[in-house]
């Protein structure tokens, strides 16, 4: 303390100068418009830089969390890949199977999986809307990344949309919250086929139609993709039945079922584009029967 006092006394002129200048600059900035404008502009630039640095540091500190979630994602994808390998694909006249477990369980037919039917391309949402009557997503992958129209778009939590328009670096995907959206789904417990549509309004709820009355649908039943649309793999979770269904007024033989989406469409971020390798083949077959 004594040394500090000595320092102040010895440099009294300088200390007084600094204190008076601080006061003067405060007065200048407060009462002079030009200097105030320059000061605020400079302060904005510097605080912008500061905030940017802080975000970088925060990102760095979150790396552990990101690594954890990526690890979980890897496990999930590995499992999915393993399952996909079990999709039995005709190879030659005779079928082979590579998986030992299934070989033991299998009948006399021997099958082999040549390649998985579905490929996943990771992407991020860079645009999303949920409030309109017809909503779209923009993702940061395009034809350069092997994306073509009519690929499915899923997230870790379920179905998100269908790719419609593809640029070289970005793509537009029709969100599930679009009135033209028709997703072919199953009620998992009954294997009951239905068609999932969005009638507008609540972005968390979709409507499942064309499930016949003889299925006893309960609240909480899981709704998964059927795999019939060729856009999505089979058994991707879409949502759960929201409440005990009522009859469809337009079509009295069927239920009208409210389904709560598993993926919150308001917080879509990490996505996977689903490439069905046999899409064109299956689609051309579909076209052949269209006119018959």
């Amino acid at each position: 303390m004594g040394k500090l006092l000595q320092l102040l006394l010895r440099n009294g002129g300088f200390m007084t100068f600094v204190l008076v200048e601080v006061l003067c600059f405060y007065i200048i900035i407060k009462y002079n418009e030009d200097q105030n404008a320059i000061f605020s502009h400079t302060a904005t630039v510097f605080s912008g830089r500061f905030l940017d640095k802080r975000r970088q540091i925060a990102d760095y500190l979150n790396l552990q969390q990101i690594a954890d979630s990526l690890r979980a994602e890897n496990i999930r994808i590995n499992e999915e890949l393993a399952n996909a390998r079990n999709i039995q694909v005709p190879y030659r006249d005779t079928f082979f199977i590579r998986n030992l477990d299934t070989l033991l369980l299998s009948d006399s037919l021997r099958r082999i999986s040549v390649k998985p039917q579905f490929e996943f391309i990771s992407a991020r949402a860079v645009g999303n809307s949920i409030s309109g009557a017809n909503n779209w997503l923009i993702i940061n992958k395009g034809s350069n990344d092997g994306i073509t129209p009519n690929m499915g778009l899923v997230s870790r939590n379920g179905v998100v949309g269908i790719i419609r328009h593809v640029g070289s670096n970005f793509s537009m995907a029709m969100s599930v919250l679009h009135r033209q959206m028709r997703i072919s789904v199953n009620l998992q417990r009954h294997h009951a086929l239905g068609s999932l549509i969005w009638e507008g309004g609540d972005p968390a709820l979709m409507t499942l139609k064309f499930v016949p009355h003889h299925f006893k649908v309960e609240k909480g039943d899981a709704v998964v993709t059927s795999g019939y649309s060729q856009l999505f793999p089979k058994d991707v979770l879409v949502g759960h039945v929201e409440e005990k269904p009522g009859s469809d007024p337009e079509n009295p033989y069927f239920w009208i079922i409210k389904v709560r989406l598993n993926q919150d469409m308001a917080s879509v971020n990490d996505l996977y584009v689903v490439n069905n390798i046999f899409y064109s083949e299956l689609d051309s077959l579909n076209l052949k029967v269209k006119d018959e």
């Binding site: 002129g13 007084t16 008076v20 003067c24 600059f25 007065i27 200048i28 002079n32 030009d34 200097q35």
Partner: protein, 172 residues
């Protein structure tokens, strides 16, 4: 010490009046590159023996007085405080052999001669004007403009400094 108070008080009011009544009008009518700031002479003519903190405070005081008339609150006060601080550095640099004695109460040509006085005053006014124009533009983006204004303002100001010092030839 007592006999040096009144001359300084007269100088304070006289220089502020001269600054805002005459010199400010000259600048306003000719243009921003013709700034004549004579009031810092008050700071230069404060007693040499006066401790530096007082010089800084009095410098900001006369600056504040000029600010009220210029409508630039804080600007001249900042420059005055700076030149008050710069004065102690300049005087220490130009200290005569044997140091300052009580015989020369103020740094004027009457005590030290014109050659010494003009050197000290030149550095002193360059420091004051440069600080003043820097704070006025408030950014060194306009460094060239600040330097040009300092040089042109300094040339004009020095003419008035010589006139004032020759006319009044202050001793206290």
């Amino acid at each position: 010490m007592n006999n040096s108070i009144f001359p300084n008080i007269w100088r304070f009011f006289g220089l502020v009046a001269l600054q805002v009544l005459l010199l400010q009008q000259i600048t306003l009518s000719i243009g921003p590159y013709f700034n004549i700031l004579l009031y810092p002479l008050f700071i230069l003519f404060l007693p040499i023996q006066l401790p530096a903190p007082y010089v800084v405070l009095l410098g900001s005081l006369i600056g504040m007085a000029v600010d009220f008339f210029y409508g630039t609150l804080g600007l001249h006060a900042s420059a005055g405080a700076f030149s008050g601080f710069a004065r102690s550095v300049i005087l220490a640099t130009f200290e005569p052999k044997g140091g300052f004695t009580g015989k020369e109460p103020i740094a004027s040509p009457a005590h030290f001669g014109w050659r010494w006085y003009l050197q000290v005053a030149s550095y002193f006014f360059v420091a004051h004007l440069f600080w003043y124009f820097s704070v006025m533009d408030f950014t060194f983006v306009y460094f060239t403009r600040i330097t040009l204004k300092t040089l042109s303002g300094w040339g004009l100001t020095m003419i008035f400094v010589v006139l004032y010092s020759a006319l009044f030839n202050p001793k206290n």
